[in-house]
Structures are given as structure tokens and as C-alpha cells.
Symmetry: C2
Subunit: 249 residues, 2 copies
Amino acid sequence: MTAYDFSSTRLFVDAPMSEGAQIDFDDGQANYLRNVLRMGEGDGLLLFNGRDGEWSARLVEVAKKRARAELVGLTRPQTPSGRLRWLFAPLKHARLDYMVQKAVEMGVSRISPAITRRTQVSRVNLDRMRANAVEAAEQCGVLAVPEINEPETLEAILARWPEGEPLVFCDEDAAGADPLAPLRALAGKPLALLIGPEGGFDPAERKALSALPQTVRIGLGPRILRADTAAVAALAVLQATVGDWSSGR
Amino acid sequence: MTAYDFSSTRLFVDAPMSEGAQIDFDDGQANYLRNVLRMGEGDGLLLFNGRDGEWSARLVEVAKKRARAELVGLTRPQTPSGRLRWLFAPLKHARLDYMVQKAVEMGVSRISPAITRRTQVSRVNLDRMRANAVEAAEQCGVLAVPEINEPETLEAILARWPEGEPLVFCDEDAAGADPLAPLRALAGKPLALLIGPEGGFDPAERKALSALPQTVRIGLGPRILRADTAAVAALAVLQATVGDWSSGR
């Protein structure tokens, strides 16, 4: 947590940013600024595009279906996007929205839906997932919006898993084992975390995971965790142990 | 996580449990069993009361406004309730429900609403909080339902904080410091975790926290976390470092 001001209006825009640049908002944002926030010409806000840092801006035009701002100055330089890939079995609707938002808050840089045999969702709405990621970034002061991958089956993902990349997976059979010890060995490496479906992995998937030399099993304690809780909990221990929670890393 | 079966019907009942005991359900549970789950006489389910472990049971009567089960056998012995107190500034409605459920999943044993100067909620519905705690326990296989305290102001709580009890608080000014090092020193002690309001603590509250010798400050990384995310994240690092995630402790 930083002393960042939750109350500032902070929007993602997909446009190059530099001092004095004019930024045109899309219809949805123009409507939000005008009709929800009741903002008008001269009002200030913060903008970011995921590449050029965060900028203070001033609204120079607020009309019925369009709005435009001028960039005033850089408020925070761009942060590196990190190397934390998050793979998860998609959940339904609201719970998926929530899980994606939480993962962005926790600092994942790449979001990979992994269809497992017990995944109860057949279709993943990537636009909605991206909108949730952007919203979480807007609300939580995250400057680097994560990359979002097309869904793939877990089997396909594992079949071509990169050689030097550890894949941490939360194993219900590892409950009771200290989760921090295996994580400490991953310092300095790119990280990936796999959160399984609530019904657990299928035996064939467990076998494929065990057979992969890059997998690192961790337990998340003696209680059953819902998938969204497990995602935040596992990301927390990962970030605290070998991630970006310590500024020296 | 354990290999606990999410799909079993599992209900909390406030009645003594022993083999052969008959358990009468309240109206709400009777309605739930009959009309939502469409269960009938002879169907099996799991019951717990927070004291006598978890029991398999069989429905022996399912009528319009009442239902009764007979206990068959102990499926899991009672787990100790732990020594993890969780203090938090209440949020509004749905987000508070969610936060309480998540804290129960993460294993807190005592829930203490702490009214801070920037808390935006004036009234806390303890019955609703208790219902959420019970629901999370039912769904997540938790056997010990946490104690729920009356709300108090943070100042009053700090003024008579027990001498030998560390109070971990998540300090936005400690972002960048390794959170695990200060936690390791707490092994074997009763634990308490304070999650502040989203507007942060008031300067007077920060001063009172700093002045208390029992406080232990930890940072939760460089990003802003919403209060419910911070609660799960902090409970995860706490449980992983000095809590019950390692069975040796």
C-alpha cells in the first residue's frame, strides 16, 4: 500500500502521452466524466496509458458525446510491468470479474486463462476481462496494465512450458508444508502461478503437473480456500517472498 | 487447501452433538433443505456446531416448516479455534460481507470491528456479520466459528491493548520493507492483525499506534490494495510465516 489518493479520478487512455498532448476520450469515458462524475472544463484528473507513466491532465472540452483533456505534467514515471504470470481456471461472471481485479491489485503482469478438465466455464469473455483489468488499474494506481492471453487448455500450456520458468502451483495435497521455503529458491527468476479450479485438478492434469520439472508445489494451509481467495493469498506470499514487496528486489 | 469436498451440504447448528443425537433445524435451514436443495428423508449431510467436530447426519424428517436429522458418526474432530484476532474498519454492506467471509476462510478466530475516525460506516450489523461468518465456515470446511465482538473505537481498543500481545498493522508508509522479517519474530505468540480504513488512519490514530510498544508494522508492497484485498493478503503472509499453514506450528 502506498499513500496514493483513492479519491482522484484516474483513467486509462490508449494514446501516446507527453507534455501538452491532447487526449480524446472515448464515448464511454466522456459520458462517465460528464454524467457520472459531473466534471467540466478546467477540472483536473490523472491519466495513464500503461507505457508513459501517469500524467496530471485538465479537461479542455466536455460535450455531449466527447471529451478532451490536455496533459499538464508527469506525476509518476512508468513502472516496469514485472514478470509475474498468473494462470487460472476461469470462474463464472461476477466471481471471475472479482478475481481478475484482485490479481491486478496484487501485481500480476500477464493473465492466462487455463481451461482445465473441471473448469465449469466454456467461453471466456476477453473484452470483459480486459475491462476489469483496466478498472482495477485505474482504481488501484497500477500503471502497467497486464497482458491478457487467449484461453488455452492447461494441457496445451504445460506441453510447451518454457524451460527456465518455474510454475508455482497451489496443491491441496501440500497443505501443512511451509509454503515459503520452496518459494525462496525462486529469487530472481520469472514467476508464474497457477490457481486450479474449485473442483481441483483432474488426475491426468495432476500427473502432467508432477511430470513437469519446472513445477513448484506450495500449500495454502489447512482450510479450503475459494479460488479467488487462493489467488490473493498465493500472490501475497509470492510477492512477499520473491516478488516486488521488498524494494531491494 | 485440503481435499475437502465442496459439494457436500454442510450446515452449522447450535446444538450439542453426539452419536445418535437428533438435531432440529431452524425454519430457515428447514426451508433451505426442503425447497432450495430439494432434500428429503434419508438424505445425508454434514453438521457442525463449532465445538464438537463435524458429523455425518441423515435427515429423518423433512416437513413444511421443520426438519430433523440424526447424527451418524464423527467425520472430523473439532479443530482448535486458533489465536488470530482480526481487527478492521467496517466497510459498507456487500464489501463487508465479503471481507468477513474471506477472513473466516483465512482462519481468524476472533473478529473485532474497530471504528476509526475515517470509517465511513456508523452502524455495524453484528447478526449479519455472524451470518456471514457461519456461511463461510459452512462453505469452506472451517469447524471453529470465530467469536464476534461488539464494535469499539480504535482508540478505546488501543487504550487497553493486552501487554504481551503483538498487534500487526499494515502501514502504507512501510511499503518497500520486507514484511516477513518482522513477522518471524512473533512465532508462538497470540496474533492480532489490524486492517485500516481505505482513507488510511487519521494522524492521531497513527500516533497512538506508533506509541503502543506491541505494534508491529508491516508493508504490503508498492501497490494500493483495497481493504478486502489487504485483509486476505496480510492474513496469508501471517499464516504462512507464523500461523497455522505449517503443520509443525
